[in-house]
């Protein structure tokens, strides 16, 4: 599972995503294997109505 995070302006950080299992910061890089896994998860989550867009941002 993954979680969106804020950038320093308090907005949704589109440059990375947080992996909840180990709190890893996964960067938005098409060659990053964890980002590839996240993209696959995102498609499945969206199809099941569990889009991250419905989740609040984590707090600073």
């Amino acid at each position: 599972m993954f979680k969106r995070v804020k950038n320093e302006q308090g907005q949704n950080n589109t440059d990375l995503i947080l992996r909840i299992a180990d709190n890893a910061n996964i960067p938005n890089d098409a060659g990053n294997k964890d980002w590839i896994v996240y993209q696959a998860w995102l498609i499945e989550a969206d199809q099941q109505g569990n889009s991250l867009n419905n989740q609040p941002l984590s707090a600073d």
Binding site: V5, K6, N7, E8, N13, D15, L16, R19, D22, N23, A24, N25, I26, P27, N28, D29, G31, N32, K33, D34, W35, S58, A59, D60
Partner: protein
Amino acid sequence: MARTQLDPTLIPSATQNIRNILINGGMEIWQRAVTFTNPATLTYVADRWKVRTSQASTVIVTRDATILDSGIYSFKAVLTGATGGQDWRIEQQIENPLEYKGKTVTLTARVRSNTTNSNRIAIYDGVDTTFSSYHSGGSTFETLTVTKTLSGSATELWALVGMLANGDKLNGTYYYDSIMLTISALPVSFVPPDPQQEFARCQRYYEKSYDADINPGANTALGIVYIPMAGASTSVVQYGSLQFKVPKRVTPTMTGYTEGGVSGSWTVRTNGANLGDGTFATDNISTTGLRVRVTAIAGSPITASASSNWYMAYGHFVADAEI
């Protein structure tokens, strides 16, 4: 005066200088851990080597120092729960396969197996797979070899070792060592690499602040990183710079740990004392470094943001840029 002449038999041949395309073929480097229980498919074990399997249970992978072919360690896998019809292998994917299109490469490995018709090696180029013969099962190290001319339309270059086909996965004890992939039509004996260079080659894909033999998440101060922070507010310190020892293959996944081993957290301190733990947050991650922030610091203890540059953040990190 007679000229000094070289004895041609003492001049290294071209094949003796062939580079191993594989990294950590000697199974000497294990940065993630040295023991794995039932590693899931696509889990990296020894550096640059990942498991691929249709059945992860029941397998114990260890770095072994007693039964080996070269160096001081070998790869050991003990399988006890095979149920038939399954496969289990380790593989290394080469980062730049297109550079090998159309070339003839040879993979050799020293394999020890106590079961017949289970273990062999293979080369995959994205088009098809070419296999070696099986290990005899005689409980001694045997050299397995396979040569393949890669397709002109090759998209991958993988070295595969283990129980490769459905049904090959058998209960037993297996050792893999001295694995060599070269541009050659003939087998080339394993050449031990320079340890420093080999470790740096591994760090292109995986780097940690911990000592080489300390697992990420361990409770240790050895190797811990202290970073001065240039900005602060009540519960955040930020603008710290962390640079990698070796540039990464791609922008890496970053995981932080406190000294005590708490994943996802770092600690903030002043000259006098620790102020508390907060979330290890990053931005501007690149292949060479990143900017560190520590957010949601427990108790919002930061009070002197106008003079924030005496705040330090510290912790361990792992940067993972594997394929």
